[in-house]
């Protein structure tokens, strides 16, 4: 290891049990700064649960979560976001009745610490609106800025998910199946967006689409039944017999 500093994100002995069922079992995971890392595994392996634990949606049964070397296990979800941790959701989790621009403004406003302001009109916050609009322009969403999210095609909504997360200016970005539900004709633009993310952001992608995973990730972790099965570079994972059996083999049979 050449990197002697702390990882962007690290978990140590992370466990989550529902009764006797261990959905996360002693997960020791490191996401290096600027990484392009994918978390793969069969359905029900606990990938989204892992994200929920890391972001603080639920508390772990045991273990620690470190963000940039600092222990954030006891922090609430909102506080972890303030420390540079952002995520997207597997199923679009947006403000469907608001415009695309307002969706992003909501995040920008939190990022700039303006969201608690009770007295000044939101419309007078030019810095918030201009930054949000610039974020939309970068993702090619500017033409849809005025449209309500619920009126957008699903693929465009997936991009808004990413735009909202990016507007938090995170150090660590967790993408939960960014291309899920998007027809392959439209997934190209999502891949392009992920490829063009600023290199200093550490990105962890959960994804089922193997083409996308092998194209984007420089490192893979395979999760099976709440445990890390193996971790390595894409060629190592592709050649791994155990992975072929539990994961790729299962895919080939469907």
């Amino acid at each position: 290891m050449t990197d002697v500093g702390a990882a962007a994100l690290e978990t140590r002995g992370l466990c989550k049990n529902y009764g006797a069922l261990a959905v996360a079992n002693d997960i020791n995971f490191r996401l290096e700064r600027g990484a392009r890392h994918a978390l793969i595994g069969p359905n029900g392996a606990g990938k989204t649960t892992f994200l929920d634990l890391v972001t603080g949606r639920f508390p772990p049964t045991a273990g620690r979560i470190l963000l940039g070397g600092a222990d954030v296990t006891a922090l609430a979800q909102a506080q972890r976001v303030k420390r540079g941790l952002a995520r997207t959701f597997q199923i679009n989790t947006l403000f469907r009745g608001l415009s695309v621009l307002e969706n992003v403004c909501m995040a920008t406003s939190e990022r700039l610490g303006r969201a608690g302001d009770l007295f000044r009109p939101a419309g007078s916050r030019r810095d918030v609106i201009d930054r949000a609009y610039a974020a939309l322009e970068r993702l090619g969403l500017a033409d849809d800025a005025a449209r309500l999210v619920r009126e957008l095609p699903y693929g465009r909504q997936r991009l808004v998910e990413i735009a909202v997360a990016l507007s938090l200016e995170p150090d660590v970005l967790l993408l939960d199946e960014p291309a899920a539900g998007v027809p392959s004709t439209e997934s190209g633009i999502i891949i392009e967006v992920i490829e063009s993310l600023p290199p200093e952001i550490a990105v962890l992608i959960i994804e089922h689409d193997m083409d996308l995973v092998f194209r984007l990730a420089r490192r893979l972790t395979v999760l099976v039944q709440g445990r890390i099965l193996v971790e390595g570079t894409p060629p190592e994972i592709a050649a791994n017999a155990a992975v072929r059996e539990v994961y790729l083999g299962e895919r080939a049979s469907t």
Partner: protein
């Protein structure tokens, strides 16, 4: 009979203009800057005053002159609008469904009433104290119950109001219990305007307080905090994921809403000089919900339509049919819920859209 007949309506109308023009820029303002989209422009202008927003105030001012015999009822309508407006802040914006909002109305009413019955006759300071008392009760109860959601929260709001009502009932030595709180003395407003039997002073007083309450509520819903409340209503998970302290935001608006409701209750105590246990009652909590559903939830102006509509209809139905008037109210509510989702305002919005007007 009247030594100093108060005719403050014209000065009030002028004062409204004075207050409004600088406080809220009217009209289109500067056009879109080159290179920005219409969406940016729409957001920037979201808080500018639209001409239609003046309508309630013109109607209220005209009503003072057109219906001099109904000013006492008018004052009660105005304070009901303020109560419904306070409820819209939590129901319509933050998405907190409550069946106990009368708790705060009642606390304000008893606070203002007890002050006036115990020698503190100055009305404005009494009203401020009523608002503070209700706001504190809102913050304290909210700190406990806002940790829950949905049906649990609904039941807890109901319980808080029931607890307070039973407390007021048991503390008969102080509150008058089931007989109601009597013996209030309310001094002339600003030392000048006596509360007269025609309700002139009461009407103008309630109108002025409602106006200030509306200014505050409008400011709040258009602030970043207010937009965040809509975010919480639309998608709480997303708000947490962008780093919003959801619990704190909900608690703050709950306290503000409670304070406004308390001010409405204080107005009732001061203008009727009587507070009964029903100020805290379940019926009042239910009626304010009905008023908002009739007018339109989450639009700030639903209260301005729903509360007068309900109270005028109630007055009319009760005269026509003193026994079964509630049936007609109920029928109307069913019709609105089935055929006019979004209440009168929702109906108006759909109509305007069909006619191609800007909404």
């Amino acid at each position: 009979m009247e030594h100093n007949p108060p005719r403050p309506a014209m000065p009030v109308a002028n004062a409204l203009r004075e207050l409004l023009w600088p406080a809220l820029r009217v009209g289109s303002g500067p056009g879109p800057a080159p290179g920005t989209s219409s969406a940016v422009d729409a957001l920037r202008r979201g808080h500018h005053l639209r001409p239609l927003e003046m309508l309630p105030w013109l109607v209220a001012a005209a009503a003072y002159f057109l219906f001099p015999d109904y000013l006492a009822l008018g004052a009660q309508i105005l304070l009901a609008v303020l109560f419904a407006l306070s409820f819209d802040l939590i129901l319509g914006y933050a998405g907190i469904v409550s069946l106990g909002h009368a708790a705060f109305f009642g606390v304000g009413a008893y606070a203002a009433g007890l002050l006036a019955a115990n020698g503190w006759s100055e009305p404005l300071s009494g009203l401020v104290i009523a608002g503070i008392a209700a706001g504190l009760v809102g913050l304290l109860s909210g700190a406990v119950i806002l940790r829950t959601r949905g049906l649990t929260l609904l039941m807890l709001t109901l319980m808080i109001a029931a607890l307070l009502q039973e407390t007021a009932n048991k503390a008969g030595a102080i509150t008058g219990g089931a007989d109601g709180l009597q013996g209030m003395h309310v001094a002339p407003l600003l030392g000048l305007f006596r509360f007269d039997v025609f309700g002139r002073t009461a009407y103008v007083y309630c109108l002025a307080v409602l106006f200030l309450g509306w200014l505050a509520a409008r400011r709040i819903v258009q602030s970043p905090f207010g937009r965040g409340l809509i975010g919480i209503r639309e998608n709480e998970d997303r708000m947490r994921a962008i780093g919003s302290p959801v619990f704190r935001r909900r608690l703050v608006i709950y306290g503000i809403s409670a304070a406004l409701a308390g001010i409405a209750g204080g107005l009732m105590a001061q203008t009727t000089q009587f507070v009964a246990l029903d100020a805290l009652g379940f019926e009042r909590s239910g009626v304010v919900l009905i008023m908002l559903i009739l007018g339109g939830v989450g639009r700030l102006y639903g209260a301005f339509i729903g509360a007068p509509l309900y109270m005028i209809l109630q007055d009319g139905f009760a005269q026509q049919d003193p026994v079964y008037w509630y049936f007609w109210i109920g029928l109307l509510l069913v019709l609105v819920v089935v055929f006019a989702r979004g209440g009168v305002l929702g109906l108006g919005q759909r109509l305007a859209r069909r006619l191609g007007w800007p909404s």
